[in-house]
């Protein structure tokens, strides 16, 4: 199977893609307007992109109660750090290179909100107290200064049927997380089953 292909430069790319319409570029804001703030206030899920100073990228999901990303004003956002895998990939990158990109989702809504900006990590106690959820106060949060904000059109989510309940039959065709974990770590599928069983309990503690 061929795995290397012709690499385009910008001229080659634009020959295919063309250029965006003025209305498309005009809707890019340098802050969150009231509609974007309302979108964020109802969003329970986002993907956070970071990169280290060499440009090595990472993308990581973040999810919580709707509105968990708090907008302190039209440019300043806060993402609380919740219980996770302690790898801290996003944090490590942000310490190295503050540039971040977010895609925020609202269940049932096909458009997504994209926010780019620069971030840092804090443990400010007053800020942490605002981020308490289910009696658990986070110890860390990511503060983002937004400088590019826009609503991304809904075609990707429409084509993918992402919010269509009938599409959820796909999940049963994918190896379970325990099996994927076992395979990645060179363990037997019996161990994978044990990991799946343990995860059922582990997932009951979300905070």
């Amino acid at each position: 199977m061929k795995t290397e292909f012709r690499r385009l430069d910008e001229t080659g790319l634009r020959a295919h893609l063309g250029y965006p319409d003025a209305p498309t570029t005009d809707k890019i804001l340098d802050h969150l307007d009231s509609s974007c703030l309302a979108f964020l206030a109802h969003s329970p899920f986002l993907c956070l992109s970071t990169a280290d100073s060499a440009g090595n990228c990472d993308n990581s999901p973040r999810g919580d109660y709707p509105g968990f990303v708090r907008a302190l004003d039209e440019r300043t956002l806060v993402i609380p750090d919740r219980l996770g895998n302690k790898l801290g990939d996003s944090f490590n990158n942000i310490l190295d290179n503050g540039h971040v990109g977010l895609v925020c989702f609202v269940p049932g809504m096909t458009e997504t909100l994209r926010i780019n900006g620069t971030a840092y990590v804090t443990d400010d106690p007053e800020l942490m107290s605002m981020l308490e959820q289910d009696h658990v106060t986070p110890t860390l949060a990511t503060v983002i200064r937004a400088d590019q904000v826009y609503l991304h059109c809904g075609r990707a989510l429409l084509r993918s049927g992402l919010w269509d309940p009938e599409m959820q039959d796909l999940a049963s065709e994918v190896p379970s997380s325990g099996q994927m974990w076992a395979e990645a770590s060179g363990l037997s599928s019996e161990i994978g089953q044990l990991i799946d069983d343990a995860m059922v309990d582990g997932y009951k503690t979300l905070y």
Binding site: G67, R70, E126
Partner: protein, 307 residues
């Protein structure tokens, strides 16, 4: 939880709005008495307790009031910024942890948003021809909610604000214990703490108070303990980093939690054996047969609960 429609949002002061909530089909809501609260769950799934501050004689709607908090954990900010008339919230039936009991005379002490349970108490006492008075500590006229309703109650109500009757001196007001006088108080922690301190030398049972925030609790460091469920005989460990409520729910033992801060009482569980370290803001000195597992823990290695 009942779906309730936001019928009206009224700005009560520069930082308080009131919400009128009604059944979608307009049917009568469950009855309540002054002091009662409901749990309100927003579309964001955040759940908070709000005292009912309307007229218990009108079951066509409930009224609650919400303060815009500078350091909102989310619900106050959401209600002030995004909740609109016509939207649906979900609410529990009213529960009353702050009922008005028979007494010779009544003194109502409220501060800030703590006026919410106190206002229906005042209306009920006035309607019953009781002997009562109220002091309401507010930051100033711009922060004064329910202005007309407080005004209609006449001179039994003193509004203590710099631009009204001046600062409320609790130590002077409460210096002399008055047998037969029942004091009902609600407000921010610094206010209810001050009322409690000023009434330390009063006969026990004189003070009835409701807290929005947990009272400061000095607790020993968390230690693991075993919970024994009397009905099923099951036992399990509550580890250091988990609350007993989390541990119960994680094992599919359905105990409802709401405030998760030891103030609302919704997670109460009866204790059959074993001592409890009460870290809640609800239990008094003689009330040891229950535990509020959202915050409290066993004092010893094991407790047995009626579950």
């Amino acid at each position: 939880m009942l779906p309730l429609v936001v019928k009206r949002i009224t700005r009560q002061s520069n930082d308080i709005v009131s919400l009128e909530l009604a059944a979608p089909d307009g049917t009568a809501l469950p009855p309540w008495q002054p002091g009662a609260h409901i749990d309100v769950q927003l579309v964001t799934r955040q759940q908070r307790q709000y005292s009912l501050c309307g007229d218990p004689g009108d079951l066509g709607s409930y009224r609650v009031a919400v303060l815009r908090e500078e350091l909102s954990r989310g619900a106050s900010m959401y209600i002030h910024s995004y909740l609109r008339e016509g939207r649906t919230v979900h609410a529990s039936a009213p529960r009353n942890l702050f009922p008005v009991l028979p007494a010779e005379r009544y003194l109502l002490l409220a501060a800030g948003i703590g006026i919410t349970p106190i206002l229906p108490m005042a209306n009920a006492l006035a309607a019953a021809g009781a002997d009562w008075s109220m002091n309401y500590a507010a930051r100033g006229d711009a922060h004064l909610p329910f202005r007309d309703e407080l005004g209609a109650l006449g001179d039994r109500v003193t509004v203590n604000a710099p631009d009204r009757a001046g600062r409320l001196d609790l130590d002077a007001l409460l210096a002399e214990p008055q047998p037969g006088l029942a004091v009902y108080s609600c407000g921010p922690a610094r206010f209810t703490d001050a009322v409690e301190a000023a009434m330390e030398h009063w006969p026990s049972g004189s003070l009835h108070l409701e807290r929005f925030e947990p009272k400061p609790v000095v607790a020993r460091p968390n230690a693991p303990f075993t919970v024994r469920l009397a009905r099923s005989g099951r036992t399990f460990e509550v580890p250091v980093e988990q609350t007993m409520l989390h541990a119960l729910n994680a094992r599919d033992v359905a105990v409802p939690g709401s405030c998760l801060r030891g103030v609302c009482g919704s997670c109460v569980v009866r204790v059959l054996d074993g001592e409890v370290e009460h870290r809640d803001s609800l239990t008094g000195g003689d009330e040891t047969a229950v535990i509020y597992p959202c915050v409290s823990r066993a004092l010893g290695d094991e407790i047995t609960v009626d579950l």
